[in-house]
């Protein structure tokens, strides 16, 4: 019984790990690795090209490895565009939005999981509806609202509307549902207030969910394009995606700069992912405490 009640994520061994099915192992592995190559080539080719000098980019025959490796594209992108402030702006937006999203989503998710009032159920439906009706469907009026709130051409105009997220809220709700109510009852018996139970007991338990949502939210905001494009007008406020898109939108695309700028803009996210990989890849939302 003890084994059966362990979270499914811990069960790694499947019946097939017996010996004697070598052909199937070879077959399945080769299909998978073929797909790995297909998925890796576009990005690899792109990164490799970014190290070629501008003159070599279009000279046939094309080679996979740069013949004369250089970082000229990167330095040009950095100096010709205001990349330092693009980075800073994007970092501000992504960090602020992520922190707010976690706090707000955790509180809402907890309320939806541990209390039952009719208006909470109604609000859960409202939150779900925001997935079905994304902000793209109310783009123009949403812009007017944000402008009327005085947030036009302000980084806060990107952060604040992005804080409400159904995904985050329901990630927390699913998790807190799996936390035994006994824990909550025990805290109540000990005289802990509802809010302090949430902050001191429940929130620390939700650490894996917090990490997962942090990475998700950071990625969403880091890669956002349309909404920042609408809200920001001053080039000083531009985020990375707008910066890169402005290079793409030019009459004659300067590929050397574009390749360098694109790779640069990906670096922080890739670094964060490599560090916190396990929180994304093991995002098994049922692996909480089970009663």
């Amino acid at each position: 019984m003890a084994v059966a009640s362990r979270p499914p994520a811990l069960r790694r061994t499947r019946p097939g790990s017996k010996t004697g099915d070598l052909p199937r192992k070879i077959g399945a592995s080769s299909i998978m690795w073929l797909l790995v190559v297909v998925y890796a080539v576009p990005a690899l080719w792109f990164v490799m090209s970014s190290f070629k000098p501008a003159g070599d980019l279009f000279s046939y025959p094309l080679t996979f490895y740069p013949k004369h490796p250089t970082v000229a594209g990167y330095t040009q992108a950095w100096t010709q565009f205001d990349f330092a402030s693009y980075f800073l702006n994007t970092l501000i937006v992504a960090t602020a939005a992520t922190l707010l999203t976690i706090v707000v989503s955790a509180a809402t998710g907890y309320a939806l999981a541990k209390y039952s009032n009719w208006w909470l159920k109604a609000f859960a439906v409202c939150i779900l509806a925001t997935t079905m009706l994304p902000s793209e469907t109310i783009l123009a009026p949403l812009f007017l609202v944000v402008r009327n709130l005085g947030l036009y051409n302000n980084l806060a105009g990107i952060v604040v509307p992005a804080v409400i997220t159904a995904t985050g809220t329901f990630m927390f709700r699913q998790f807190f549902v799996t936390v035994p109510n006994d824990l909550l009852e025990a805290a109540r018996i000990d005289g802990s207030g509802e809010l302090s139970t949430f902050v001191r007991i429940m929130l620390p338990l939700a650490r894996p969910i917090i990490m997962t949502l942090a990475i998700f939210s950071f990625q969403w905001r880091w890669n956002d394009y349309l909404w920042p494009l609408i809200i920001l007008n001053d080039p000083k406020q531009f985020t990375l995606q707008i910066g890169v898109a402005s290079i793409v939108g030019a009459q004659n695309v300067n590929w050397s700069i574009l390749l360098g700028a694109s790779v640069l803009s990906m670096v922080p996210l890739v670094a964060i992912y490599l560090i916190f990989q396990k929180y994304v890849m093991n995002a098994d939302l049922n692996a909480g405490l089970k009663d």
């Binding site: 890796a40 469907t137 123009a140 009026p141 349309l226 890739v270 994304v280």
Partner: protein, 320 residues
């Protein structure tokens, strides 16, 4: 002490002490004991509630209002009745954007479903080797923004300089007009979007596949079921809820694609591959026809609602 169990000191309670009575009545669903709190949950949802009212209800309300006017973002908003909607229904650009969006979504959702389920299946299969590395590679596109993904595929499928055309010409073929042919450029966008969208769906499928009880497979093994039978009769039904989520989310996500296309070919050639969000953006923000764009937004909203509703109904019927 007993009293303090039933009556936590700090909390306001709407129904005092008679919890037992409530439970004694026959109810449609069992009522939990922890339902007597109002203040704490209200406080916990307050920020989200405020944001919901501010950034969903308010814009939806004024958007509906503006869709009956010829508002341009400044000055007065003259009421024009259903004029915007009538113009919209007679606008060939709107129909073409809608049609392209439907083709685009209709291709990507099945394609992405199959590839991400297939990859997830390989990633939890006991027969594959090197899973940790493969997982990272498959997941990598998730990190890449739609803009950069568009640039990557634009670089790969450039007509005069791309790797794909280079290989085709090296093999003796003719350069393919990936950018100047409307259908071919849509195909490139579809491939790019599938590549970029696999990772997230794959993650959902991996979690679902891991949760299928092993005992089912063991029983099937004893009965001599083959791999396809096990997949068809055990795996697919077991992951049905996840499949539903994947289809729903990728439909909604694909319907509002914007950044990828802007970077890949700007909806080109010309305006041939302008999708619906691009249409709304162009009319609303480039031509400042806020009223008209609001009307277009509401049509999109209606379509998304219908799609979500149909899928929910379909799912419910299948479940029962």
């Amino acid at each position: 002490m007993v009293d303090s169990v039933r009556q936590p000191a700090a909390e306001p309670r709407s129904v005092p002490a008679d919890g037992e009575e409530v439970r004694a009545k026959p109810r449609l669903w069992p009522r939990k004991r922890h339902n007597r709190y109002t203040g704490a949950p209200l406080l916990m949802i307050s920020v989200n509630l405020l944001l919901f009212l501010l950034f969903f209800i308010w814009p939806a309300a004024i958007g509906l209002g503006y869709s009956f006017t010829s508002y341009t973002g400044v000055g007065s908003a003259p009421f024009v009745g259903l004029d915007n909607y009538q113009r919209l229904l007679n606008d060939p650009a709107f129909y073409s954007a809608m049609l392209r969006t439907v083709i685009y979504t209709g291709s990507i959702v099945p394609l992405s479903f199959v590839t991400s389920l297939g990859i997830a299946y390989l990633l939890v299969s006991p027969y594959t080797r090197g899973k940790p590395v493969a997982r990272v590679v498959f997941f990598f596109p998730w990190l890449i923004s739609p803009i950069i993904a568009g640039v990557i595929w634009r670089w790969l499928f450039g007509e005069n300089f791309g790797l794909v055309n280079y290989i085709i010409t090296e093999l003796g073929g003719k350069a393919v007009p990936w950018q100047s042919n409307a259908n071919l450029s849509l195909i490139v966008v579809i491939i790019a979007a599938t590549w970029a969208g696999t990772a997230f769906n794959m993650l959902l499928f991996v979690a679902a596949l891991k949760n299928v009880p092993i005992s089912y497979y063991e029983a099937a093994d004893l009965d001599g079921a083959n791999a396809w039978q096990k997949f068809r009769r055990i795996t697919l039904p077991a992951i049905a809820p996840t499949s539903f989520i994947v289809v729903l989310l990728s439909t909604l996500h694909t319907m509002k694609e914007y950044g990828l296309i802007v970077a890949l070919n700007a909806g080109g050639p010309g305006t041939a591959n302008n999708l619906i969000v691009q249409y709304i953006y162009t009319t609303g923000f480039k031509r400042a026809q806020i009223g008209y764009a609001s009307a277009a937004s509401f049509v999109l909203l209606l379509i998304l609602m219908i799609i979500a509703f149909v899928q929910l109904m379909f799912n419910r019927r299948k479940g029962s």
